[in-house]
Symmetry: C2
Subunit: 130 residues, 2 copies
């Protein structure tokens, strides 16, 4: 049976797989290849603008090992032919306790290839009920 997922769904899911695979194999500097030069990242409320600034933040995060587990990922096409991806999951950094996180990416196509123009990351440590 043919794969009936729309292209934006496939592209979103493949990006997510590639992104966290690079993140978790310790090759964080290679994440830069996934961001556009003028990309934005908001990491725990702090904003970073531009690929070099983003890569510098990602490569200097204060842990050695990390593992992301994705619980849910939702993709949508935008009116500008971009793709928005929302991720929910858990991560374990070094020997810290497992923590929930949420992350959003906007992907766009330029000259035939897809890259990330927008990235927002938050730990979910305040995100559950009383």
């Amino acid at each position: 049976m043919a794969d009936e997922r729309p292209d934006w769904q496939k592209i979103g899911e493949e990006f997510i797989q590639l992104y966290y695979s690079r993140f978790d194999t310790g090759n964080r500097s290679s994440l830069g290849e996934l961001y556009y030069q003028s990309a934005w990242m908001t990491w725990e409320g702090e904003m970073f603008h531009g690929k070099e600034v983003i890569v510098n933040k990602l490569t200097t995060l204060p842990f050695k090992t990390i593992q992301h587990n994705i619980t849910k990922q939702d993709c949508q096409p935008t009116p500008d032919n971009c793709i928005v991806v929302m991720v929910m999951g858990q991560l374990k950094a070094d020997n810290d306790p497992v923590m929930g996180f949420q992350q959003v990416f906007q992907l766009r196509n330029e000259l035939g290839s897809w890259g990330c123009s927008n990235d927002m990351f938050r730990l979910s440590i305040h995100n559950f009920g009383a």
Copy 2:
């Protein structure tokens, strides 16, 4: 002192305030005014396309009262002059326990006014550590 937040930050925050205010005052059908005709919504993984379909889903959600409390909201401008907003918070529906949620909106300007083209909602019930 002048307000130094960039416009996209203000627009994002005002949208969030308006959106959840309408949601929580029980006037859910009025949420339709905030979506574009061709908007997408993903609600707990189920996709809805088009304003009428979205409003129908929102107005038939199986609770009478709801209260959202926003913990964090992040805004970013996109290369297409849109705004992406990521929300983290808790909600309480009727007498159910408080639950965490995450939601993402993409806002765009058409003919001078802002509306929502993309919306993704997930309860955070699976989004915390072991």
